[in-house]
């Protein structure tokens, strides 16, 4: 079974073989193979014109990707750590996101920004953030957060095909681990904007993304052994957000728990909550809607601190358990 790094590499490789206008650029994506080894071997395969090592200039090369996209190319721009998307924020949020709309449709911006996010590597506050929330409130960007290698591959293929800018955020801790199912061969695309019901159960709905999906599945297994059946939904694309399966599931279970690694104040889970709390399924709710999220703190360095900063399996379990047992 492929790891997430391998699945992402496979998607990029397939897209680059299919379309000459696709290329990869970023810091150390060439001979080095990327800080997390995601593009290992691609430089050797595609050469320096299609796997481009940039200077340490995030604003510059993301802007260059925008310009190249306007001129007929389909760049995949890797940001070494998603934290550095702050450097490129103008080109992402003010240019890439808005050009198509602002120019009345005269131009469009088919590009993908790939970046690892998340904690767990002991890299401290400037290398460990979940940055999703910087982008979900910026109309014009699609934001994808894969939770496993199979989805990562299919979603990335679609992201590269998409005529709009897509921010594709990979959790670093997933890079080296295989998923829970094999990665389909070939160019099996998974459409953006379609959520996935990863597991079905009648007692509780959990919505989670990225690394939290795996943790939620662990919790679901544990609870199942205790006779509680949990639905786990992975939106996969958090902007635009497909709520259809969540509405259906909550209508059935009457209980909703949302999980994210990023700080509690903000984030995609709030949008999920808000949409449910304002929807027709509001009446089906048997319990308050709970969230399990990171503490509202920068990610600390020491392992014992870092672990305390973000949700662990036990935290999700405790919250799920409480909802189901308190609100029968």
């Amino acid at each position: 079974m492929l790891t997430m790094a391998e699945a992402v590499r496979e998607a990029m490789t397939i897209a680059m073989e299919e379309r000459p206008e696709v290329f990869l650029m970023g810091e150390d994506v060439g001979v080095y193979g990327g800080a997390f080894g995601v593009s290992a071997g691609m430089y050797e395969k595609f050469g320096a014109d299609r796997v481009i090592d940039t200077p340490i200039s995030e604003l510059g090369y993301i802007g260059a990707a925008v310009g190249a996209a306007l001129s007929g190319m389909r760049p995949i721009a890797e940001i070494q750590f998603s934290d550095f998307s702050a450097q490129a924020m103008d080109q992402i949020a003010n240019q890439a996101a808005k050009i198509h709309f602002m120019l009345g449709g005269a131009l469009h911006v088919p590009m993908v920004i790939r970046a690892p996010q998340g904690s767990g590597t002991g890299a401290a506050a400037q290398h460990s953030q979940i940055v999703e929330n910087w982008f979900t409130n910026v109309p014009g960007l699609k934001v994808v957060v894969p939770s496993n290698p199979a989805d990562a591959k299919g979603l990335l293929l679609s992201a590269i095909d998409d005529p709009n800018p897509v921010v594709f955020l990979e959790h670093k801790l997933l890079y080296k681990t295989p998923g829970w199912e094999p990665v389909p061969e070939g160019n099996a695309r998974i459409p953006l904007g379609v959520s996935r019901v990863v597991r079905t159960g009648k007692d509780l709905t959990i919505v989670a993304t990225g690394i939290m999906v795996k943790k939620s599945l662990e919790v679901a297994d544990k609870l199942s052994a205790e006779g509680i059946e949990v639905t786990v939904i992975d939106p996969r694309t958090i902007s635009p957000l497909d709520m259809s399966t969540t509405f259906e599931s909550v209508d059935l279970t009457g209980r909703l728990l949302v999980v994210q690694e990023g700080p509690s104040h903000g984030g995609f889970i709030n949008e999920v909550i808000a949409q449910v709390a304002g929807s027709h399924v509001f009446g089906s709710l048997k319990a308050p809607i709970k969230k399990v999220a990171g503490l509202n703190i920068p990610i600390p360095y020491a392992p014992q601190l870092e672990k305390a900063a973000v949700p662990q399996v036990e935290d999700i379990y405790a919250a799920a358990n409480e909802i189901v047992k308190t609100w029968r």
């Binding site: 310009g67 190249a68 007929g72 103008d90 709309f101 120019l103 009345g104 699609k142």
Partner: protein, 332 residues
């Protein structure tokens, strides 16, 4: 479609070229006058950044460009847009928020683009277009299509990180891009004396290994000659050039400007260095056009602007329906 009258070559190389340069400078001047007038009459919304007094640099640069060459432009972008060949009616219509405007009323003055003539767009972000131009030049290099990209920007933009990062990338990859800095002495209220510890802003290129040239930005001929050299260099894989066009902004920075940061004398002095008169005297010297011919060119510009305004005013206002569907491009 390219406008029928687009013309490449030295502004003094023929009667036709001289007429072209003169016509385009007049078009820009008259366009800006019309904008100011529409604003004054409350027919236009938002703000405006006029390039009156700066007509020579867009005109001179664009006469060195093929229709397939591209540009990026700025908040003060009407001149670039016109010089590259855009349709005046669609420009005015955009300012008036009409459906037929270049952006369907969604962008306004600061976001006009005209793909047909290679204009990748004005930009409301100072220096925002510079990395974009550099990326378009990268595309040109990767696609081996020999297009050159010109990025227009102001003196103030040179102090943005976006310029820096793009300039270095262009230099190391020898990209076919020309950086045209229209130094009009001020970034809003901040004078170049205060914002730079440099005599010539073109020296900013030295830190990247990029050749820098300073030219009289009010002399359309000098601008053309510098641009032509830089464009050929870029087209022949020689890499970027930084051209500083020294010019002056006659009007306030935008609508809200009270001109507190400069003197009336300074403005008046620069009015004596006016680009259109300067070019007309060159035409005279060379005996290229008669006074009547020059008057006719001016009249043509006036007529075209009036026609564009009249047509735009009558056009249908942009419709709020469909705004949400317009955020993403749906075509794969």
């Amino acid at each position: 479609m390219a406008p029928k009258d687009l013309m490449i070559g030295h502004p003094l190389s023929s009667k036709a070229h001289a007429k072209h340069a003169l016509l385009y400078m007049w078009k820009i001047r008259k366009f800006e006058d019309a904008v100011e007038d529409l604003f004054g009459r409350g027919m236009m919304h938002g703000t405006m950044h006029l390039s009156v007094g700066q007509e020579a640099s867009p005109t001179g640069v664009c006469m060195a460009l093929k229709i397939t060459d591209q540009i990026t432009s700025t908040h003060r972008g009407h001149g670039h847009c016109i010089a590259k060949g855009a349709d005046l009616t669609r420009m005015i219509a955009e300012l008036l928020g009409k459906e037929i405007g270049y952006c369907g009323g969604r962008g306004g003055s600061m976001h006009i683009a005209d793909v047909e003539t290679g204009n990748l767009g004005a930009n409301g972000i100072v220096a925002g277009g510079i990395p974009i131009a550099t990326g378009a030049a990268l595309a040109s290099k990767l696609q081996k299509n020999e297009n050159v990209v010109v990025s227009f920007f102001g003196d103030g933009a040179l102090n943005e990180g976006a310029f820096h990062e793009a300039a270095n990338m262009a230099a190391i990859w020898k990209l076919p891009v020309v950086f045209v800095c229209e130094n009009n002495k001020y970034g809003m209220s901040n004078s170049t004396e205060k914002a730079f510890a440099l005599e010539n802003l073109a020296d900013r290129g030295l830190g990247y290994g990029i050749p820098g040239v300073t030219v009289d930005g009010n002399d359309v001929v000098a601008v053309y000659e510098a641009a032509e050299q830089a464009v050929q260099r870029a087209r022949n894989s020689g890499g970027p050039t930084l051209i500083e066009c020294v010019t002056y902004r006659w009007k306030g920075h935008s609508r809200s400007d009270k001109n507190l940061y400069r003197t009336k004398e300074e403005i008046d002095e620069w009015k004596t260095k006016e680009p259109i008169a300067k070019f007309m005297s060159l035409i005279h010297e060379k005996n290229l056009l008669t006074q009547e011919e020059m008057d006719a060119v001016q009249q043509q510009a006036t007529d075209e602007i009036i026609a564009a305004v009249n047509e735009s005013v009558k056009a249908k206002a942009a419709d709020p329906a469909g705004l949400e569907a317009a955020v993403f491009n749906a075509v794969m």
